[in-house]
Symmetry: C2
Subunit: 466 residues, 2 copies
């Protein structure tokens, strides 16, 4: 098993010129800075505040998720995951990366009896109706995922669907259509599960939503869909191991965090583009976006000073975005770093075919495969960015499976924690969304919350009609 | 029919404080600046360089697309669109916005005999195999979309699929499985269509890919899927009409362009977030992303000066991204404007249900609908952003259908052209992607192109293994 590696040549001055990092610093002040960050992270790790570091080794959680999946297997045609943010993005990534884009369209036989997997992570009634009117609810299992057990949107969706199931199946038959994944002790979901004997799985108290994919939040849907959940954790453990050294040059997560932080803080690259050259990793970019944005976008530093800091993660996918975003990356402001992900091993491939060799503008394609074209375009894009002075780096993965996906999840989670230390912010909280929640409670008439006062002035600025 | 309107209160000083635009300027220098931009756009419009202005009125194109769709109707179960960037994003938006997320999973009967619609906009062999191995090719129509008729990825996919069809059906039966949408006169696809009698539709010579959704590029898939293509153009014509006034306060596209440009150039808001509160408009954000990024991200201004300018468009969707990106929007750098899209009319809705009224943390949800929760969250998010000094504006649409989607397409296309004038760049070219193409040709051994020389120095900077 070749571990994930990183080529960051196009981040250093020798390749990038003045927009690059002086490579000497990687053995100098940046190595020192990382060593300090590493130390503070190790201290927090020892304190037990960051439970996700333990997830790759949590064989109890794995066994529990696998056992429940085994017990349920074959009883449902559809799995609907109800959750917001980190409670949904991990499962979506697992589905898209490991089961492929058309999983839900395949027949029961083609899925080997494994359920289709839908994600409800929006309260848009149109979107919910699209799913609910289509699915046979009697053959559907709902996995309600909320750490707190009281997330407004998750609970609203839960109530809607429970109501529908009660109508359709009668109150006494509804419980077995639910699995709750929630805090082991607290919250409404936990109380309901215990009072009514509903199947449930624990999210450790010290694991936040966006760091939870390797907990039962991701393990249960993975196991139910037939994904090798143990391999997922095995890959994560591998990444944890090789991302634990304090030596910058040997630490993939440390290099990622350090190079992106220095590109942002010293070279003005505040936008961090994650651009896998792999259609199946498209959703992974969105999982990373939430992780990076919510962990690092902060009003205060760890001493309480107002800083309003944080890079903006921007998802992209190769080659598709060469026809959408790359024009801006090439010619626009020098405010971006592009992080490529390349699959470098032998993949399933398709021959392009030389039967149109007489057409001049396409003849050159004929002797090649789609994989070769994809690879050539990735290398050409990285090189063109470099020639335009645009920083970029490339993670290289041999192939995509449960093990390497687990490795990617862990590598990027650890990088986020190191980045938190380098940006000097708390990567575990999300104070910024509180005000919106309070205002929503007010508008929804929740007891103890006032509706927001009308904004002052009362006048609205609106388009006029001529 | 209520036209789309715009509330930009949270862009002006009276609501936003020092981070806002002085509202007096909307009747002063900004109105004047827009009038100049408007004039230059009108001049180009008259010159005939920007063909997309004529698309809403092109009844010939509509008739041709509709006729071909009618002629083909019922013969295929699947429509696969092969195209890159603007050749794919418009069709995906049409599908997701008007047919819903589970269209492809519905039975032939539920689709009233209309085809499933797949988009191949990547050369990833794994993604292509996912689709090709699953679909019955004998029941599949391929719509190959390329303005130039020589886009490398599009042509590679075309050759792959043509090869498979020849194997499966024999050479003589393959032609009827294709419709080419391409330049009316030039390019390989046009030549092949004429030589072999393959059905084809024209993209007017003066319409670029990212402005082509209202041409046969979008009209044909729409018509084939049973979408009211005439209504799409009708809505676009409506937007064209009300976005043509030189009076800033009355011009929705003008206000959007002017406010975003001033927020960027004077207030540092270089990231423009499009955040519809509608799951069905998720793909619309990606259509807009390409339009805004590729049209405005430029190395040179119109006088040829090096400027490296352009805002970075960032797609988001409400309420989902409240649990992913909004933390960063609220607390991070003051470098963003959020553009909300709200559906304000009566939509299909779902009652949340009060059967858990005894659970304190969810009792408040019971008397409401999902739509009400969605709406409360949108308003709460806009207000919380405002209180944090974060600029935002809201487009209000009564409901989503072919007509209002056409209106949105046109409004944002016109706004892009105005923004081009305000940013002083050419919104119609994309020089920045040329180098990547040349390097790809070199790597693929195309005649007349050299492979890129090895970068200098030859040394690569890579992760070391400890």
């Amino acid at each position: 098993m070749t571990p994930i590696t990183l080529d960051f040549s196009n981040m250093v001055m020798e390749h990038l010129g003045v927009r690059g990092v002086d490579s000497e610093r990687l053995g100098g002040d940046l190595a020192d800075r990382f060593r300090v960050a590493h130390e503070s992270v190790e201290a927090i790790r020892r304190s037990g505040e960051m439970g996700f570091f333990e997830l790759p080794y949590d064989s109890d959680a794995l066994a529990q998720a696998q056992e429940l999946a085994d017990q349920i297997e074959g009883r449902f045609e559809n799995l609907v995951i109800i959750g917001m943010g980190g409670s949904a993005l991990g499962a979506r990534t697992l589905r898209d990366a490991l089961l492929g884009s058309l999983w839900n369209e395949r027949s029961n036989e083609e899925r080997a009896g494994r359920p289709r997997m839908y994600i409800l992570d929006n309260v848009d009634p149109g979107a919910v109706l699209d799913v609910v009117e289509y699915l046979d609810l009697r053959r559907t299992l709902f996995n309600v995922v909320s750490k707190s057990g009281s997330t407004a949107e998750t609970m609203a969706l839960y109530l809607v669907l429970e109501g529908l199931l009660i109508e359709e199946l009668g109150k006494e038959n509804v419980g077995e259509h639910f699995v709750f994944t929630t805090d082991p002790e607290n919250g409404a979901l936990r109380s309901i599960a215990e009072a009514e004997g509903i199947n449930s799985l624990p999210i450790p108290g010290n694991v936040g939503g966006r760091f939870s994919v390797l907990s039962p939040v991701g393990l249960f849907p993975a196991a139910l869909a037939g994904v090798d959940a143990a391999a997922l954790l095995g890959g994560a453990a591998r990444a944890d191991e090789y991302c634990r050294t304090p030596v910058l040059g040997e630490n993939a997560a440390g290099l990622m965090a350090t190079l992106l932080h220095v590109a942002h803080s010293e070279l003005g690259a505040s936008i961090h583009v994650l651009m896998p050259y792999s259609e199946r990793l498209r959703s992974f970019s969105f999982w990373f976006q939430q992780l990076w944005a919510e962990s690092l976008g902060k009003a205060h530093d760890r001493s309480g000073n107002v800083v309003h800091t944080g890079p903006t993660p921007l998802p992209a996918v190769g080659v598709t975005d060469q026809h959408a975003q790359v024009q801006l990356f090439m010619e626009g402001p020098l405010d971006k770093v592009v992080i490529f992900v390349a699959l470098t091993g032998t993949q399933r491939d398709m021959k392009i075919g030389g039967h149109r060799a007489s057409v001049p503008s396409v003849a050159y394609l004929g002797d090649h495969t789609l994989g070769q074209l994809m690879d050539a375009e990735r290398r050409a894009t990285a090189e063109a960015l470099r020639r335009n002075g645009r920083a970029n780096m490339t993670f290289e993965i041999e192939y995509l499976d449960a093990s390497t996906l687990g490795e990617l999840f862990m590598l990027m989670s650890v990088a986020t924690i190191y980045a938190g230390a380098l940006y000097d912010v708390n990567p575990l909280d999300q104070q910024g969304v509180e005000m919106g929640k309070q205002l929503t409670y007010g508008l929804m008439g929740r007891e103890g919350y006032d509706p927001p006062e009308r904004s002052d002035p009362d006048v609205r600025w609106r388009l006029e009609r001529g």
